[in-house]
Structure formats: structure tokens, C-alpha cells
């Protein structure tokens, strides 16, 4: 069973967090991150070679979270695997006990640490969602019966601030049509645009979990604007952090305000602490979301 699905369908406001598997086999720092943010979250995303850079697989790391008593959202990117591998890993994920799935296209290899790699993109994320939905119905993408089906809670990414919105919305609707039941958004800075996205998807029944970043330093803002796909920190927000005497503290205040605002609009919040994991409890508590000690 998926706690995330149950909570969203019950109408609870959910909190999701994010952990990155290590580059290597030592899981200690990942476990620390999980123990820090995990207790406040309904589920935790486990990224899949994020930013097209090499990490331990999301499959193994997601299982580790499960063993630690937390609920993972297994991320699968279309960049690194063809349809055989994707399907095979979906079956593996289910047998390992992973119940939540987030399908993403994936950054282009040219932006990562292995720029010489061949980007696979045999399927795109819309198609992959369709494949997972098919497995939930008990068949592979050729329509053959599976010996044992899956029952994934299928999610995808949503980009409420990227214009043109009509093109974004059309794609989100195609994802819903393919089987997506929840969306996790890129970081939100413009609440009107978040509201627009939630309202547009309302008729589909798909849930929207809004992303909030903790912009802990001017350096992080520069990194996001230069390197992170599909995201720009607006000048007003960037100036607020840059001009603060204590940027990290200002970032925590900003994130707290954003979480509080998102609560009135979306079905959940996805907190991306960018290293300030330890501040997550305070952000959630000050936003009125967690009974943190």
C-alpha cells in the first residue's frame, strides 16, 4: 500500500522530501539525510542519476529507505534505459516493495558529469507513465499478461512557471491520460501560476504537490539559474537572499512563507532543502505543518 496515495486521496495535505543516493556504496550520509527529513514527510523522493550525474541507483536506495521504515517515491528517468530495462526495473521495483513511482524525462547527458554518454530516451515520460499504468492492469507494453501485476501510484513532473503554459498544460493532460495520478512541481515562486496549474488539473483529479526550495546562498541561486533545467529564480526573490545579512536564515524564512502559502493552494508540498536538511523541521513547524520538537 502507498501511504502517499492514501493521504492524498483522503484529502490530507502531504509533505514530501528528497534524498540523493551517494556516488559510491557508503549509505551513511544518505541515511542521515533520511533520518533528518524523513520523520516529517509522507514520502521521500529518491532521485535517479539526478542532473545526469552518476549516483547509486534509485532502485537500491529506495529499498534502503523502505528498510529504514520510510516510504520512498522511486524515480525513474527515461535518459538512461531503453524500454526493456525500464520495464524490467518497474517489475523489480514492485517486487522490492516500492509503491510510488515518479517518471521523468531526465536531463540531457550533455548537462551532466558524463557528457559523452548516449542519451537513450527510447520512451518519454508520458509514454513511460503509460507503460507503468499498463503494468498496473497486468500487462507489459506489448499487451502480454504479466505473471503478477503492479499497482504503482504513478506521478510525474509539472512545471507551472514555464511558459508557454498552454503547451505545458497540454503535456500534463497527456500525462494524466497516460495514467499519472499526482504531480510534483518544479520550485514555485509565483503562487498565481501554481493556482492556475492546480485549477487546470482539478477536473482530472490529479493531485499537485508544489515544490519549495531552500535557497540557502547566493551561490545556490547562481547555480539554479545557470545549471538547473526549467527553473529561474525571480530577481525579487534572488535580491532578498543576496541582500540578507544571513542568507541561510533568510532562505529558511522565505521557504516557511512559501510552504504556508502553498498549503492554501496545492495538495502537498515538496521540500528541497539543498543541503539545509536540518532546517526542514523548523520550516515545516513554523509553517504550521509539523509538530516538530
Amino acid at each position: 500500500m502507498s501511504r502517499l496515495r492514501d493521504a492524498l486521496e483522503r484529502g490530507d495535505f502531504v509533505i514530501t522530501g528528497e534524498v540523493a543516493p551517494p556516488l559510491g556504496t557508503d549509505l551513511a550520509s544518505m541515511r542521515t539525510a533520511v533520518e533528518t527529513v524523513g520523520p516529517y514527510c509522507t514520502a521521500l523522493n529518491v532521485t535517479d542519476n539526478q542532473g545526469a550525474t552518476l549516483h547509486l541507483s534509485s532502485l537500491a536506495a529506495s529499498r534502503e529507505l523502505l528498510d529504514m521504515g520510510y516510504e520512498p517515491i522511486f524515480q525513474q528517468t527515461c535518459r538512461d534505459r531503453n524500454r526493456l530495462a525500464l520495464q524490467s526495473d518497474l517489475l523489480a521495483a514492485w517486487t522490492l516493495g516500492l509503491r510510488n513511482l515518479l517518471v521523468v524525462t531526465g536531463d540531457d547527458p550533455r548537462s551532466g558529469d558524463h557528457p559523452q554518454a548516449k542519451g537513450v530516451f527510447d520512451l518519454d515520460s508520458t509514454q513511460l507513465a503509460g507503460v507503468a499504468a499498463g503494468m498496473n492492469e497486468g500487462h507489459d507494453m506489448l499487451g502480454r499478461d504479466l505473471a503478477g501485476a503492479t499497482d504503482f501510484y504513478i506521478g510525474a513532473a509539472l512545471f507551472p512557471e514555464a511558459e508557454p503554459w498552454d503547451v505545458q498544460l497540454a503535456r500534463a493532460e497527456r500525462k494524466v491520460e497516460a495514467g499519472v495520478r499526482f504531480f510534483q512541481t518544479q520550485a514555485i515562486f509565483d503562487l498565481d501560476k501554481l493556482e492556475r496549474a492546480v485549477a487546470a488539473l482539478e477536473p482530472s483529479g490529479a493531485k499537485v504537490i508544489a515544490g519549495v526550495l531552500v535557497l540557502r546562498s547566493p551561490r545556490v541561486i547562481d547555480f539554479i539559474n545557470k545549471r538547473l533545467a526549467g527553473l529561474m529564480v525571480p530577481d525579487a526573490v534572488a535580491d532578498r537572499i543576496r541582500s540578507a545579512t544571513d542568507p541561510a536564515e533568510e532562505a529558511v524564512r522565505l521557504a516557511t512563507e512559501q510552504v504556508r502559502a502553498v498549503r492554501e493552494i496545492a495538495h502537498g508540498v515538496h521540500v528541497m532543502p539543498l543541503g539545509l536538511d536540518a532546517e526542514v523541521p523548523r520550516i515545516l513547524r513554523d509553517a504550521g505543518l509539523a509538530d516538530a520538537e
Binding site: G130, R171, E177
Partner: protein, 225 residues
């Protein structure tokens, strides 16, 4: 047409040095490589000059009409029989298809003088863009005549990806996102959205491609051989 680019010259010199070649025959191509400005007469002459400057003797050169054409290339080679016979190696300024045609036609070590880049549209004189990958499973009927397989760096059929910002592509940052262009053109033509496109049949492009029109025609006319 096939777009070719100059190949690292040091690598060409290394190829010749490795087999101890001192005398070289050069073959260009009168078709694509001539238009691309990489294997026409001026470029063949320049290659000859560079080889001679490097201490090689150039026994002769030719620019075949269409170097990937087997019959034509055999004929062209025969015309330069003596010059080729007197060479230790042949340098070919054409795409990889032409290089292999020459290698089949001439019993000498044959080396590529260019890199084959892509099947290119001639946007303007000297400006080439890749618009088709010859995937064998065309989606242009769904995408308003704009190929996402080729012109989206990720080759996504259902886009845009999360990297699109202000209508622009994330990977090729100075270009408009192809999925935004597709949506706009479909709308302009009153054709509605592209809809969800199913996964592609990549088996249509399995290597090596081959087509025998003689057999097709024979079958078409009921000739049972």
C-alpha cells in the same frame, strides 16, 4: 545531403605514417562534399598541398561525380589507373559511404579524410541543419511537419521536457523548443494538439539498411525469376 566536416589532420597523417605510405592519391566527391565545401576540387587541392608540405608525394587526384556510387567510382578509378598504381594509399574526401565505395574499388589502403556529420537541410548557401534522421517511422504527419525525433535534442515525441523555459530549448539554448513550435503550427493550421504519440518503432531503423529496387520491381511485376 550528407554533411561532412574536416577530420583532424594529425590523425590523417598518423594513418599514413603508420603504414609507411609516402605516395598518396586523393579522391574527392562531386556531390555532397562539394556542396559542403569539404571534398570538392578546392579542398582536394588544399589537401594535396598540405600533404606535400608534410613530405608526402601526391601521385594524383580525382573528384568523382558521386563517390558513393560503385559503378561511377570504379570508372573514375580506372581513369586514374597509373596514378593510383603508383600510390601507397588513397585519401578520400567524402562521407563514410564514399570512403567505403573507394575502398571496395581500389586495392590499396584507403583512409577517410572527413568526418560524416549528418543528413542536412541546406538552409542557406553554406548553412546546414539536421532535420531528419531517416528513422523509418515518420511522425511528421502528427507534428505539423517538424521532426521532434531529430530537432528535439532528447528526441521526445511528447514534449516539452522540464527544461523548456520561455519557449526556448534547454539543451540548444539559442533555439526555440521544437514542441512549442509544433503546438503553435498545429494551432495555426487549426489542427488541434498533437495528442499523445505512442512509443516509436525503432526496429524500422535497424542496421544495416538495405533496399533492392530490382527485386522489388521484379516482385511487383510478377516476375518469379
Amino acid at each position: 545531403m550528407i554533411i561532412t566536416k574536416p577530420r583532424d589532420w594529425a590523425r590523417i597523417e598518423r594513418n599514413l605514417t603508420e603504414i609507411g605510405a609516402r605516395r598518396v592519391f586523393i579522391m574527392g566527391c562531386g556531390q555532397c562534399a562539394t556542396v559542403a565545401g569539404t571534398g570538392g576540387e578546392p579542398e582536394v587541392r588544399e589537401a594535396a598541398r598540405r600533404l606535400e608540405e608534410g613530405g608526402w608525394e601526391v601521385t594524383g587526384w580525382a573528384v568523382g561525380e558521386v563517390t558513393c556510387h560503385s559503378g561511377g567510382t570504379r570508372l573514375e578509378s580506372r581513369k586514374h589507373d597509373t596514378e593510383i598504381a603508383g600510390s601507397d594509399a588513397v585519401l578520400v574526401l567524402s562521407c563514410g559511404a564514399g570512403v567505403q565505395t573507394v575502398a571496395d574499388a581500389i586495392a590499396k589502403p584507403v583512409f577517410p579524410g572527413l568526418e560524416s556529420a549528418f543528413l542536412g537541410n541546406v538552409v542557406r548557401h553554406g548553412v546546414f541543419e539536421e532535420r531528419c534522421q531517416m528513422c523509418g517511422d515518420c511522425v511528421l504527419d502528427r507534428t505539423a511537419g517538424i521532426c521532434p525525433v531529430t530537432t528535439c535534442p532528447k528526441g521526445l515525441l511528447n514534449g516539452p521536457c522540464g527544461g523548456m523555459w520561455d519557449g526556448m530549448c534547454e539543451v540548444v539554448a539559442d533555439r526555440e523548443c521544437v514542441h512549442v513550435r509544433i503546438a503553435r503550427r498545429l494551432a495555426e493550421q487549426g489542427r488541434g494538439a498533437a495528442g499523445r504519440i505512442e512509443p516509436k518503432d525503432f526496429s524500422a531503423k535497424l542496421k544495416p539498411g538495405s533496399l533492392n529496387l530490382r527485386e522489388t520491381r521484379r516482385r511487383g511485376t510478377g516476375d518469379a525469376r
